[in-house]
Amino acid sequence: MIETLEIINEGGTPIARRAHIGVVASGNCELLIEPTSEPRARVLIRTSVRGYEAAWRAVIARFFERHPIAARIEIDDFGATPSVVALRLEQALEAAS
C-alpha cells in the first residue's frame, strides 16, 4: 500500500502565498505548499515507494536547515529521487515567496 509520513519542523517564518509544483509521474512528485497559522511546518508525504522514511526525513531536515519556514506542505510522490524532491521543495519555495 501507499506509505504516508508526516514530518513536523517547529518555528519558522510564514510564506507569502500558496504554490503548486510538479506532477505525479514516474520519478517525479507533486507538491502543494500553503501558508499556515501554526508556528511550524507540517509536511505530509504520500509515496508509492515504501521503506524510505529515513531518506525523506534527511531531505526535509536539510531543506528546513536552509529555509526555516512555517507552511503546510503536501507531497504526492511517484518514486522521485531525493535530489528531485529537494529541487521540487526549492522550486515550491521560490513560487511561494
Binding site: 501507499i2 503548486h20 504520500r46 504526492d76
Partner: protein, 267 residues
C-alpha cells in the same frame, strides 16, 4: 526575431494559460481543492490533486471562454470519475450559459490515452457524459479540439475529440482509437510493429490525420500558431464543414498497407 514557444513542452495548466487572453486565466476546482481520485490508493497508485484535469475560465479574444485540458504526464492523461466529471461539468455549464444567451467559447485540449483502466466503468460513464456534453454544446458554439501534446488522443477520448466541431492537430500528436501497442497485441506484427515509430507517426500522426480530412487545421508546435488557429475556429466561426474522411478507408488493408496507399496519394 520571434522566439517559438513549444506547446507540447508546457504542462496542461500552462497550455490553458497560454491560450487564454493574458491575465485572464482563472482555474476552477484547482489542485488546492484536493479533488483526488478515491480509487487509486487501494491500487497502490498515488493520486494527483487535480486528477490530471485542468478547467479554467478566462477570455479568448475578449469573449468569455472555458478551456479544459487533460494532463498527459499523469497516468497517460487517462479519464477517471473525478477528472471526467470536471470536464463534463464545465461543458454542461457552458451549454447552460448559452441557453441563457451568455456567449462562452469552448476548447478542449486532449492529451489522453483514454479511459483510466483503474476506474473502469466510472471512466466509461465519464467519457459518455463528456461526449453528450460536446454534442449538446456544439449546437450553440464551435467546440474546438486541440491535440498537440506528447500523448495525442486515444480510446474513448478520441471519440470525444472526433465529436468536436473542429480540431487542431500538431505533427507530434497522434490520433487513434486503439494505440499502436494495442493494435500490435490484438492484430499481430504483420498489422503493425508498434516499435516502428516512424510508421506509427506516419499512420496516426497529426499530419496524416489532417491529410485524411480528419482534422481541421494542422499546426506547428508553436503556442502563437495554435492560439491563432483557435481564435480563427472558435471566435471568427465561419461555418465549419463537418470533419469527414476525404478518402474511403478499406477495412481489409493492414495499417502498413494503408500507410503505403496514403503515402502514394499524398506525397
Amino acid at each position: 526575431m520571434k522566439t517559438r514557444i513549444s506547446f507540447a513542452e508546457l504542462s496542461a495548466r500552462e497550455r490553458v494559460r497560454a491560450l487564454l487572453d493574458p491575465g485572464t486565466f482563472r482555474e476552477l476546482i484547482d489542485p488546492f481543492e484536493r479533488m483526488r481520485s478515491p480509487y487509486l490508493a487501494e491500487q497502490r497508485i498515488v493520486a494527483q490533486s487535480d486528477d490530471g484535469v485542468v478547467v479554467a475560465r478566462g477570455t479568448l479574444g475578449g469573449e468569455n471562454a472555458v478551456i479544459v485540458a487533460t494532463d498527459g504526464r499523469y497516468l497517460g492523461g487517462s479519464i477517471g470519475e473525478i477528472g471526467g466529471a470536471k470536464i463534463a461539468g464545465a461543458l454542461e455549464c457552458a451549454a447552460d450559459a448559452w441557453a441563457r444567451n451568455e456567449r462562452t467559447r469552448v476548447a478542449i485540449l486532449f492529451d489522453s490515452g483514454g479511459i483510466r483502466l483503474q476506474e473502469a466503468n466510472l471512466g466509461i460513464l465519464a467519457v459518455a457524459e463528456i461526449c453528450d456534453a460536446i454534442v449538446a454544446l456544439r449546437a450553440f458554439t464551435p467546440v474546438i479540439a486541440i491535440v498537440a501534446g506528447r500523448v495525442g488522443v486515444y480510446g474513448g477520448m478520441s471519440i470525444a475529440a472526433s465529436l468536436c466541431s473542429a480540431s487542431i492537430v500538431s505533427e507530434g500528436a497522434r490520433v487513434g482509437l486503439n494505440g499502436p501497442d494495442v493494435v500490435e497485441e490484438e492484430a499481430g506484427l504483420a498489422e503493425l510493429d508498434a516499435r516502428d515509430r516512424p510508421l506509427v507517426w506516419r499512420a496516426t500522426g497529426g499530419r496524416r490525420r489532417h491529410a485524411q480530412g480528419q482534422a481541421t487545421r494542422f499546426v506547428t508546435d508553436d503556442v502563437d500558431v495554435i492560439r491563432a488557429a483557435l481564435h480563427e475556429l472558435a471566435i471568427h466561426a465561419t461555418p465549419i464543414a463537418p470533419i469527414a474522411p476525404k478518402i474511403p478507408i478499406d477495412p481489409t488493408l493492414s495499417l502498413a498497407d494503408f500507410d503505403r496507399e496514403l503515402g502514394r496519394r499524398f506525397s
